[in-house]
């Protein structure tokens, strides 16, 4: 087991190296003049980016030297800093990248966590009813509904929600994270923030229910066809007991495993949803930074995402072995 983990960790580091190389090459394709233009634009827009920051940034990524050796040196230099958790300073936000990621992760994490909770709470019962009533009207209706959920473009659905619930009915705020006027008590501010997060959470939940429901349904169908379910029925157990005690427990294996694979989506932020609702989450921040060619932030954020997805895959595989005793790791 330990040997397996060590081997997988080694592989993960290699993968991360590959990812970092690709990201670095992409950034290097960006012409320096283009970056300078973007910085000039930002300076015109009121921001003041000191000359030293730009020089330091170029130094850090080796942008001033375009020879092959220079590129190589720049990459090594950047990688060295990365290993010390030094992601550099974002010039769009004027702060260390890591601080910005930490600052904005909270909102994204809150949205993703609540959405994931509701996703499981809604999708699993739906999946079970669809599987136990296979080919019935109920199965068809549930399937069609969740398929529509999968097919919805997030921005379109978010706009519909905005239109109905904030512009027409006025139940929820249109955009933003909190009302500027709410500077009273921290508790009121907290509830105000929660209130603003309702529509984004609904968007993310509806879009993700479909996949989870289909996963539950497929696994449930597979389990329902197995011998021990027939045995349980032959014993004369109640259908409820058969489904929830014998069948569903075995459906849990892939569900629990996939929970570990959700790690990246918990922290990476829903870029488009956050953008439509103008939430100060990590996805929105990253989008703005990318449009402004904020190199330190782009590189830092993408490495952060890659790290998360590598960890997610690793954790999912380990969870699989923990949950299912039949799986042996080698």
């Amino acid at each position: 087991m330990l040997k397996y983990i060590a081997k997988r960790l080694g592989q993960s580091i290699l993968i991360l190296l590959g990812v970092s190389l690709i990201i670095y090459i992409l950034i290097r394709c960006m012409p320096v003049s283009f970056i300078e233009d973007k910085i000039a634009q930002m300076n015109q827009g009121g921001a003041t980016i000191p000359e030293e920051t730009i020089v330091a940034m170029k130094e850090m990524y080796g942008l001033q030297d375009d020879s092959f050796l220079g590129i190589l040196k720049g990459y090594a230099n950047w990688l060295g800093n990365l290993c010390q958790f030094d992601f550099g300073d974002s010039f769009k936000y004027g702060a260390p990248v890591i601080d910005i990621i930490k600052r904005d992760m909270g909102v994204s994490f809150a949205v993703a966590l609540v959405a994931t909770f509701f996703e499981f709470m809604i999708a699993i019962p739906l999946g079970i009813t669809a599987a136990t009533h296979q080919y019935s009207i109920r199965d068809y209706i549930v399937t069609i509904l969740v398929m529509i959920g999968i097919s919805l473009p997030s921005f379109f659905f978010a706009q519909i929600l905005q239109n109905i619930f904030s512009l027409e009915l006025g139940w929820f705020p249109f955009q933003g994270f909190f009302n500027a006027s709410t500077d009273s008590s921290p508790i009121a501010l907290f509830f105000d923030k929660c209130y603003h997060l309702v529509l984004p959470i609904v968007t993310v939940t509806v879009l993700s229910i479909g996949g989870r429901m289909r996963m539950t349904r497929t696994n449930m169908l597979e389990v329902m066809n197995s011998d021990y379910i027939r045995t349980a029925r032959a014993k004369g157990l109640k259908e409820r007991v058969v489904i929830y005690k014998h069948a569903f427990r075995n459906t849990m294996i892939p569900l629990v495993t996939s929970l570990a694979g959700l790690l990246p989506s918990l922290f990476s932020g829903a870029m488009i949803t956050e953008q439509v609702f103008n939430l100060p989450g990590i996805g929105n921040t990253a989008y703005t930074a990318m449009m402004a060619a904020d190199i330190p932030f782009i590189m830092g954020y993408n490495m952060f995402l890659a790290l998360l997805s590598v960890l997610g895959v690793l954790l999912a595989d380990l969870m699989y072995a923990v949950v299912d005793p039949r799986v042996k790791l080698q």
Partner: protein, 353 residues
């Protein structure tokens, strides 16, 4: 397809005596129909109502996008409606001590923007005075074409790399699979945004009209690993089959063995994954367009047309501008997903009912 004469087993009533007399090519009994595997798959596919629904949706969209402009010729997709419109609003102004008088305000609009649905514009016009229906058709053509191209390129790359990895194994397999691992851990959407920003720079000199094609091209370069893994997995198991030993004994070339004997047997799974990924490609393209990385306004695809959230007035009062493209996207993705699901059930031999 090979083995044209395989009979669907559950339909075959074996008659011992007659089977001895008839030649294998003819049916044993006049009442027993011989079905090729293709026919069997089609029959199982059409048995499901959802897959028929999906087929109708997709075919309908294709007719709408390609035949539609031939029928609906009132407005071109990049034709600006310059009909001036005059609207009057009458206001009664009462001032104490004098007679009330009417104030008539005449508003003259030089362009017919944000018109409500009417006879001349069945879906109204948008902010830029374009006819929404005409743009819906042309946008659909762009979205569907790009998605199809992307899926074909991804599948081709997947077949080549997966085929090579699965067939040769060893070091080559290892290298290709590690590349797959790396590409799968790349954050796809952010990377596309970076490339989109890159393409903005003037030194690279990409025409804005073609930027979305470049972007989707790049997307194919990073999203073939899924298909490659599927192909590799299948080939690993197929490689051990007897007919491959036979092919080996016949002295066929490697290319022939891979592309003539192995790949056709992977096709069923590939077709399913292709149909399902068509839906996700349409969504990808729409999201990119939505974020402003698509074609410029004159050539806009569906995604661009939806992006009005910055303007609450259009969002609230002009659903006819941004609703239809969204509905089209849903129909397209839903249709492809239904077809993909139906095909998966039809092609899976375990699913026979």
């Amino acid at each position: 397809m090979e083995n044209e004469n395989i009979k669907e087993t559950e339909e075959l009533v074996l008659d011992e005596q007659s089977s001895a007399v008839t030649t294998p090519d003819e049916p044993h009994d006049k009442n027993v129909k011989l079905m090729s595997p293709t026919q069997m798959v089609l029959r199982r596919f059409f048995r499901s109502r959802l897959s028929i629904l999906g087929l109708v949706m997709v075919i309908g969209l294709f007719i709408f996008c390609w035949v539609g402009p031939l029928v609906y010729t009132q407005w071109g997709s990049s034709e600006i409606d310059k009909t001036p419109s005059v609207s009057y609003s009458v206001k009664v102004i009462e001032i104490e001590g004098s007679e009330p008088f009417y104030q008539v305000i005449e508003t003259v609009q030089t362009n017919n923007s944000l018109a409500d649905p009417s006879v001349s514009h069945p879906l109204g016009t948008d902010k830029n005075n374009y006819d929404v229906l005409a743009r819906l058709m042309s946008g659909g053509r762009i979205s569907l074409t790009i998605s199809f191209l992307a899926v074909f390129v991804i599948t081709a790359l997947g077949i080549v790399f997966g085929g090579i990895a699965g067939y040769f194994g060893g070091v080559i397999d290892n290298i290709i699979m590690r590349i797959c691992d790396v590409l799968m851990c790349l954050p796809g959407f952010p990377i596309l945004l970076i490339v989109g920003t890159l393409l903005q720079s003037e030194t690279l000199g990409v025409d804005l009209e073609y930027r979305i094609y470049w972007l989707m091209g790049f997307l194919t370069l990073i999203s073939w690993p899924g298909t490659a893994r599927l192909v590799r997995g299948q080939i690993l198991s197929l490689r051990e089959q007897e007919y491959m030993v036979a092919a080996e004994a016949m002295g066929y070339s490697t290319t022939r063995k891979i592309f003539k004997h192995l790949v056709p047997n992977v096709m069923p799974q590939l077709i399913v994954s292709m149909t399902l990924s068509l839906g996700s490609m349409i969504l990808y393209e729409a999201s990119l367009s939505y974020l402003g990385l698509g074609a410029p306004v004159e050539y806009a695809a569906w995604g661009t047309m939806i992006n009005v959230s910055s303007d609450p007035d259009i969002l609230q009062n002009h659903f006819n501008v941004w609703g239809p493209p969204g509905i089209c996207i849903i129909i397209a993705v839903l249709g492809f997903n239904f077809i993909g699901d139906g095909l998966r059930d039809a092609l899976d031999p375990k699913m026979r009912r």
